[in-house]
Amino acid sequence: MEIEVQNLRKRFGEVEALRGISFGVFPGEVFAFLGPNGAGKTTTIKILTGLIREFQGEILYRGEPFSPRILSFKRVIGVVPQHNNVDRDLTVEENLKVHCYLHGLWGKKQRERIREVLELTGLQGHLRRKADHLSGGMKRRLIIGRALLHEPQILFLDEPTVGLDPAVRRSMWDLIRGINVLKGCTVFLTTHYIEEADMLAQRVVILDAGRVVAQGRPQELKEALGRYTLEIYHRDRIEEEFFQSREEALERMRSLDVPAKVREVNLEDVFLSLTGRRIRV
């Protein structure tokens, strides 16, 4: 296992952000934490990356006990935070250089890494541009590139496409897949976008109010419900029924006297069936 987490708990005053969650991440996989805002996704990432130092529970990195005070683990992780924390007054090059210096990359090695990262993220030609003048998507690319400069083995991405338009989001997915496949990097991402988890993740943990409500391969989680969802639009609510075949779903739809729609089962249905609520609020 790349990361093993047992009974992780974290409390902020009266709020219990994590209520004893357990999960594991395999080497080389894309692993996703899916859940609504406030589910505990960012808190988990902050603990796993050492940004939050006080917590309860056990964490193992490659079988070794994890402590946020051990610096060596920081050499193997890269982190893309939820917010755009590029230094907006600095140029793209200066932003990347600061990260290089933080990781002890100097001279020729530094130039090579910056060139490679710019190619990977498609930011060649923007080296001398002030970060503040980049578009939202380019800023996200810069942050991802920055996190890859020291060639981490595990990349944490906290809501990597939040606030981006659909086209840019899709290009980000291609980039994340590329990092996973071409670089062999284990990717741990959090998201509240159903499609993102569905498209990218080989395994998913569904989190709600600090608890793991389900985990497994997206396909397995969905098939446990069925293959097709019939959305029935009542006047005051939307009801969902699940079917193994499209024909069964269509037959049921024809028998209704209210509007309805048939579509494939998605991870939102899994979340809804387990919590009674939708992820997108």
């Binding site: 902050k46 130092r53 610096l71 060596s72 982190v79 230094d87 600095l90 210096y101």
Partner: protein, 246 residues
């Protein structure tokens, strides 16, 4: 040490981007005080056996360099709470003390600018100041103390409103009650006692004492006191940066 350079480099680039604005802001205050106090109300006056302008210059050096060095409190605070750039440092494989050292080094560098301006002005105006290794040591301790204080405030005080209040209630009185514009011994008793609690009083005495030829203001007692103050500030800064979470 890679962390110290990384943090210092970032601040240096940030400073460079602001260019003329930042340089001007660091010399405009001492220039205005020089004009108002030195050539306005203080023209022809004598203090402690010397012309007021001669007495004033070392005070302006400590006051303006303190403002600049302490000023990192706002910059570090903004980069930590608003732009979240500090998070990048916390994620790096560097000791937390390196973050502190990089920021403090930057603060000390900023504090040097008004010193250079005032020393240059003094040479131009024919005010005989002597630059000795002892003066440089005292200046180093002065800048270190106030850059550390700025870093501590950035770590401990989250909101800008609280920072501004702190500046009004602590830093501004410190400027006026610390031997900078007039001798502390000439002040009313209460003000004098308040002045004795200010580290600026001792660094001003040291810097004035080392800068003015034939002055008897320098004392190793004050030097030792500054070292003790710095050690205490260093201890607080290390504790705060170790506790910092994103």
């Amino acid at each position: 040490m890679k962390g110290v350079w990384a943090v210092f480099y970032r601040e240096l680039m940030f400073y460079r981007r602001r260019g003329v604005r930042t340089v001007l802001s660091s010399v405009i205050y001492p220039a205005l005080f020089l004009l108002a106090f030195g050539y306005g109300i203080g023209k022809g006056a004598r203090v402690s056996g010397m012309s007021y302008i001669t007495f004033l210059i070392p005070g302006l050096i400590t006051m303006s360099s303190m403002n600049q060095a302490y000023g990192i409190s706002v910059e570090v605070n903004v980069s930590r709470y608003y732009f979240k750039i500090f998070e990048e440092y916390l994620l790096a494989p560097i000791g937390r003390w390196e973050i502190m050292a990089g920021e403090v080094l930057y603060g000390m560098g900023k504090g040097l600018l008004p010193v250079l301006f005032l020393l240059g002005y003094s040479a131009f105006a024919g005010i005989g100041l002597r630059i000795t290794p002892l003066f440089l040591l005292c200046l180093f301790l002065h800048l270190l103390a106030f850059a550390l204080l700025g870093f501590i405030i950035a770590m401990a005080v989250e909101s800008h409103a609280d920072q501004a209040a702190l500046s009004s209630f602590v830093m501004v009185p410190m400027i006026f009650l610390s031997d900078t514009f007039y001798p502390i011994d000439k002040m009313p008793l209460l003000a004098r006692y308040l002045g004795y609690f200010s580290p600026l009083t001792y660094s001003t005495k040291l810097i004035r004492g080392t800068l003015l030829p034939g002055s008897h203001l320098f004392s190793f007692k004050y030097l030792l006191l500054m070292v003790v103050i710095i050690l205490a500030l260093l201890a607080v800064a290390v504790v705060l940066v170790e506790r910092a979470e994103a």
